[in-house]
């Protein structure tokens, strides 16, 4: 059954692949904009310098560190831009998630005119869910920190040298598992909120808790499998990347962007799979999906064919 939902989820992502491409483009553009100021400074130092070749053919780490030690070019200078654009992307994703879930719920292609209102309708509800998710994560973060301190202490003081390392590994697996379960719970809460139009998020969370942990065996693979696929895909891509000549920047860039696309795609696959499961198991409580626009329909704001598909 889970394979069916996984397959259903992937076909929904494929059917609405414009969502994936749009997210990817926004991610890429914001990523590039975040380092624009740094690029200008690098160009000022490197474009006319023979020393720059040591960063292009091969990668002389010492030369790169010397570049980063120059005033205005250090790692600390790049951080604010990266952080700012990461937050913008984060807010963007918070906004469009409602529309994405609505799109995956619908058997039809959802138009822009419906996508963004659906996104807007869910935005503040998802902000509430985000706040509650962060609260729920706090003890996990505290536990993760405690494990890190413990493993550090073991690495220094325990007689077996690798004990701290194995505690780190075991702790990371446990924390990752807990984080995945919590994420799944709140994913289902979002799916439920979109499907039923639920406005009270605490009720949505309680309902989602019962659904998630009452059907854990069915739901968890819908989250885990795409996660594993993204990790395996990342490992394969990075392995290929290490074989690419240092000066083949274009090929390297394409490979790494495939990795970024893969990560976005697997995340959407999780959302689509969860939506598929919800639709098949909780149909009576669901609101109807947005119907396609029919020619001559007097519904205001809708027009045939002129609205670009999302």
């Amino acid at each position: 059954m889970e394979k069916g939902f996984l397959s259903d989820g992937s076909s929904r992502v494929w059917r609405h692949q414009r969502i994936l491409w749009w997210l990817f483009v926004v991610n890429l553009v914001l990523g590039h904009l975040s380092i624009f100021a740094m690029v200008t400074r690098w160009a000022g130092v490197l474009d006319h310098s023979l020393s720059a070749d040591q960063l292009y053919h091969g990668f002389n780490l010492g030369r790169y560190i010397e570049l980063a030690m120059q005033p205005g070019i250090g790692f600390g200078t790049a951080s604010p831009g990266i952080a700012a654009f990461a937050i913008i992307f984060f807010v963007f994703m918070l906004f469009v998630t409602g529309g994405i879930l609505e799109a995956y719920r619908s058997p039809y292609k959802i138009s822009t005119a419906d996508f963004f209102p659906a996104s807007g309708a869910c935005f503040w509800r998802f902000v509430c869910l985000l706040i509650m998710f962060v609260i729920v994560l706090i003890p996990v973060a505290i536990a993760a920190n405690a494990i890190k301190d413990w493993s550090g202490d073991l690495s220094t003081n325990a007689a077996p040298e690798k004990l701290g390392f194995w505690v780190d590994v075991a702790g990371a697996i446990v924390i990752w598992f807990i984080a995945m379960c919590l994420r799944l719970w709140f994913d289902v809460a979002q799916v439920h909120a979109v499907a039923t139009g639920e406005r009270a998020m605490r009720r949505a969370i309680r309902r989602a808790f019962r659904l998630t942990f009452g059907n854990f065996a069915a739901l968890f693979p819908l989250y885990l499998v795409p996660s594993l696929m993204s990790l395996i895909g990342m490992a394969v891509i990075l392995l290929i990347w290490t074989k690419v000549p240092a000066a083949s920047v274009g090929i390297s860039f394409v490979l790494l962007e495939i990795w970024m696309l893969l990560w976005l795609g697997t995340r959407l696959w999780q959302r689509a799979g969860e939506t598929a499961w919800y639709q098949h198991t909780q149909v009576p409580a669901e609101m109807p999906a947005v119907p396609p626009v029919v020619a001559g329909d007097a519904t205001p704001g809708l027009a045939v064919g002129s609205q670009p598909g999302i």
């Binding site: 490197l46 010397e66 992307f89 984060f90 003081n157 040298e161 920047v249 790494l256």
Partner: protein, 649 residues
């Protein structure tokens, strides 16, 4: 035979037999030389009992000091380095000054307590001991004490001190102490100061200083549990088990100025031999069970380093070298040198492309020469051991592991020793002069960056002035002339001038005694037609149109250094100008039927002291590929961070 003759026969037979027996058993020796290598001022005879559970040590030290000063001496300063590990000591005070986050922990407490001090033939002088603080007046610092004898020791005479002391070893904070069942016994015995430059030299122990001591012999007996695997300076002479579960291991060190030891039950012992020019040197490695994968790396580094030092600078004259691999959690004991013994450093996960075990091994072995045999004053001239050693580290690591890969060669990234030293130096380039006393640097970063990185970079740049081979000859001469003595910084600098035949004072005044920073740049290159003012100039034709090419070179820093400027043209021509570097700028102009392609300062890349290599060249046509590459990777990093944050949604 009558009775008298029978007795004489018996006596002669016994004497002959004894002589044969003595001849059959050679006297133990710790060096490959059949005569003393140094003026042996000191004979240390130490009998110590180690309590491995309590991390304490009780010992009796008989120190014979020979007065080679040429004048009577009645006052003797001693180091008690272990007393540095106390909260009010100068060492801890300075540690907190450099790092306000530093927390004092009681487990780091260490102490060396003199129970009694007797001068043989004079009597008990325990009550005459006085702690002194010659450097900073800190009366709470007990790392130096002084004792005055009622009668001076005449020139050419000797005095014998008998000192009973008790050590409390700290949990390793810096170099010495214990961690679990590992013990590093360093700076553990009362050590008399050095008579140097006509006076006693015996500084307090500071956060950024090391040690200074006189040459002599060491006969040390360590009594500890039988399950301990022991290593020490010198050579092991004997080992005897006792019924109480302990054993006494005896060591002999000759022509050395310090004695360190280590013990741990878990050590794995690996031995090998290096055939040096003076004879076979035994290599004894004490390796942690979890670090056995690093053992071949250690061995390769030790043997390669022994080989290069032997060929380039001079022979290693001791019978043994001991490498100690500290356990995890005791890395503060790692990367340290003692005569004929040094501590290395590694981790269980250290990949082959990260040459950390190798460069630590090379560096610490190098100290056998620059510190161990050429025993400079590490308090006052720290650059002379750390810096010269860092320079020879560059040469030897490059020779063994490749110029651009001698530090890192992993996943497409690489870094060589030259870069490594340069990176150490640049952030602190004008903080302090090399010649500053070790404890008077601005902070620990400056001390490290200047004594190691800047000195190595200064000597690498000096190769440009006198030549690489001349530099090697100078170091060889310096080593052979000053080994087993305590040279000053001028001794070294003058040796280099002597061997090179050049007056280098202009260089030393800036590089060693000054804080001038070298930074030359090509400000720009231009290629324009002389008829630029015409409204409709004729179309340019390659190889026929004349261009006015200019190169503007600027001295940005205040260090004056002569440099070559190499200019390349698009017709394949290359011109090299030599600039004395004295003025603030110079402009070169060429009218040619060709356009300039690039200009480069120091085309052979030997002026490592230059703070910024990126501005040392200028290409007329910009090449955006390198910055596009950085942009591509940083874009992906930014995207990754954004997606990571978006997981919260």
């Amino acid at each position: 035979m009558d009775r008298a003759r029978r007795w004489w026969f018996l006596i002669i037979s016994v004497l002959a037999g004894a002589t044969v027996m003595c001849a059959a058993q050679p006297m133990p020796s710790a060096t490959l030389s059949d005569k003393p290598l140094s003026q042996r001022w000191l004979d240390y005879n130490i009998d110590a009992r180690v309590d491995a559970q309590k991390h304490t040590l009780d010992a009796t030290e008989v120190l014979t000091w020979h007065n080679f000063t040429g004048k009577p001496q009645d006052t003797f300063p001693f180091h008690l380095y272990l007393n540095a590990f106390q909260p009010k000591s100068t060492f801890i005070r300075e540690t907190h000054l450099y790092d306000p986050e530093f927390e004092w922990k009681q487990k780091n407490y260490g102490a060396a307590e003199v129970k009694s001090l007797e001068v043989v033939g004079v009597g008990d002088l325990t009550s005459q001991m006085r702690f002194i603080s010659p450097d900073d007046g800190n009366s709470d610092d007990h790392t130096v004490f002084q004792v005055k004898l009622p009668k001076p020791v005449p020139a050419g005479g000797q005095v014998q001190f008998k000192i009973v002391f008790h050590d409390q070893l700290p949990e390793v904070l810096a170099r010495t102490g214990y961690k679990r069942d590992f013990i590093m016994g360093a700076q553990w015995f009362p050590k008399v100061g050095v008579w140097w430059q006509g006076a006693w030299n015996c500084h307090q122990f500071h956060r950024t200083t090391e040690f200074f001591a006189e040459f002599g012999t060491f006969q040390v007996k360590l009594t500890l549990p039988q399950n301990e695997v022991v290593g020490a300076s010198g050579v092991e002479v004997s080992s005897a088990n006792h019924p109480d579960g302990t054993k006494t291991v005896s060591f002999l060190g000759e022509d050395i100025h310090d004695f360190a030891w280590t013990a741990e039950p878990e050590y794995r012992v690996i031995t090998d031999t290096f055939q040096g020019s003076m004879g076979a040197v035994k290599i004894r490695m004490l390796v942690q069970p979890g670090h056995m994968s690093s053992a071949p790396r250690y061995l390769h580094a030790v043997k390669g380093t022994l080989d290069r030092f032997d060929k380039w600078y001079g022979p290693y004259p001791y019978k043994q070298i001991t490498l100690v691999d500290p356990p995890h959690g005791a890395l503060q004991a790692g990367g340290m040198e003692y005569p004929t013994l040094f501590t290395a450093d590694t981790t269980w996960w250290c990949p082959k492309g990260l040459l950390f075990p190798e460069f630590v091994t090379e560096h610490e072995f190098g100290h056998q020469y620059w510190y161990g045999m050429v025993a400079t004053n590490e308090f006052e001239n720290a650059w002379m051991d750390e810096g010269i050693n860092s320079y020879t580290e560059v040469k030897i690591m490059d020779s063994l592991y490749g110029k651009d890969t001698s530090i890192l060669n992993l996943l497409g990234a690489h870094m060589g020793e030259h870069s490594f030293q340069h990176i150490e130096y640049v952030p602190v380039a004008d903080d302090d002069p090399m010649s500053r006393f070790g404890w008077q640097y601005m902070n620990g970063n400056s001390y490290g960056g200047i004594t190691y990185g800047k000195t190595a970079t200064v000597l690498l740049t000096l190769e440009k002035v006198i030549g690489e081979q001349t530099m090697q000859r100078a170091l060889h001469t310096y080593f052979m002339r000053y080994r087993f003595t305590h040279p000053t910084q001028e001794d070294f600098l003058k040796t280099v001038e002597e061997v090179s035949g050049k007056d280098l004072r202009w260089y030393y005044d800036q590089a060693v005694y000054g804080t001038q920073v070298m930074d030359y740049e090509i400000l720009g290159v231009r290629a324009e037609r002389p008829d630029w003012y015409k409204e409709n100039p004729s179309k340019p034709k390659k190889g026929e149109t004349v261009y006015r090419n200019t190169v503007l070179v600027h001295r940005k820093g205040d260090f004056i250094f002569p440099l070559d400027v190499q200019i390349k043209f698009d017709n394949g021509e290359t011109t090299t100008e030599h600039w004395d570097g004295r003025d603030r700028w110079v402009r070169y102009q060429y009218d040619k039927k060709a356009r300039i392609v690039s200009a480069e300062l120091d085309p052979e890349h030997q002026a490592w002291l230059d703070k910024n290599f990126f501005n040392n060249s200028y290409i007329r046509q910009s090449n955006q590929a390198p910055h596009h590459k950085l942009a591509a990777y940083w874009t992906v990093i930014s995207q990754f961070c954004a997606q990571l944050l978006a997981w919260l949604v």
